[in-house]
Symmetry: C2
Subunit: 201 residues, 2 copies
């Protein structure tokens, strides 16, 4: 009876983080309760879609030639941090955890989901490493099988030819502010195997 409404709700429901009820709530909000908000939102999304592109160097979002991070000469270009997706980069930036450069893969290897090396932003990573200037490659990928496989692939294909580049992987273990009681077995095993000399940096 409401085909246009149902269609809009269906498409909203496909978006990440939105379920049946929250998609309905959003659709009702934009179409019935606060319809004056719809046109500005559509305009803003269309405008952003027209302006945004991936930074040709690192894959971050970008509205100019290079992204703000690649263009920032104060950042340490020798340390290159590989992340799966832009939200990971934004999380590291919010935390102030890394002041070098980034490389966004836009995914991780996942044969189950049909994601192979060709689907990832790997060609430019190899170019960046080949062009020199990178002293450390920090693999900030997920702590799961796909993340592990992606690290292995990068080691085999991008790093093998550049033995001078140090490769590190981010630490795994108990999250900050959390105790051992609620940690899952894999995290506890990670934490034990990642143990360090007490008092070390």
């Amino acid at each position: 009876m409401l085909p246009a409404f149902e269609h809009a709700r269906q498409l909203l429901k496909q978006l990440p983080g939105l379920g049946h009820r929250s998609a309905e709530r959003l659709a009702l909000h934009l179409l019935v309760e606060r319809p004056e908000r719809l046109a500005p939102l559509l305009d803003a999304l269309r405008e952003a879609a027209a302006r945004l592109h991936r930074c040709p160097r690192c894959g971050n979002i970008c509205e100019s030639e290079l992204c703000a991070l690649c263009a920032d000469t104060r950042r340490d270009a020798r340390r290159l941090c590989v992340v799966e997706q832009i939200p990971d980069l934004l999380a590291l930036e919010r935390a102030g955890a890394h002041d070098g450069h980034y490389h966004v893969l836009h995914g991780k290897l996942s044969p189950m989901q049909g994601i192979g090396p060709a689907q990832l932003n790997l060609a430019t990573l190899a170019q960046r490493l080949a062009s020199g200037g990178v002293g450390e490659l920090i693999l900030a990928l997920s702590n799961d099988i796909e993340g592990e496989a992606t690290c292995h692939y990068i080691m085999d294909t991008c790093i093998a030819a550049h033995p001078g580049i140090a490769v590190t992987r981010i630490g795994f273990g108990i999250p900050s502010g959390s105790g051992l009681t609620y940690a899952d077995p894999a995290t506890l095993k990670n934490a034990i195997s990642a143990r360090r000399q007490y008092g070390a940096a």
Copy 2:
């Protein structure tokens, strides 16, 4: 550095249920990760906005002359259920809790938020009651001060002239499947004062 992206994210963040992170996630999804989803969504929302209007009788959403519920002759037009907003109506319909007609106020009286009688869909409610045919008015409004005030206002303005119409208010108490331990004091008081003869219907 990303003015168009920030603008889109700001507008998404104003929508109900979306916070800073979820708005960012949605914007990145639609603008970077799955940009092919953006145009169909914008089209669907624009199309729905063009087709949808409020049912002139009850205030429900509607793509035709009357909404599906008002047009359904199998429903009991004698029982009229007043709700604050369309999601309330949809929730009652999903529950199969009411098979009469509805009237959507599109809000509740709230002097603090500048919502007075003129902002609510009250004029057509008075007309519906005056035109006869309603035997029971079910006030399905929130269990809070604004809901209470709105019930009082409807009694004083819409019902006073029609003493033949029975007015009921939905029950308040312990929700289904829930115990007393986690109920707040106001709910417990409601539940005690709404006690009924055990074994009664």
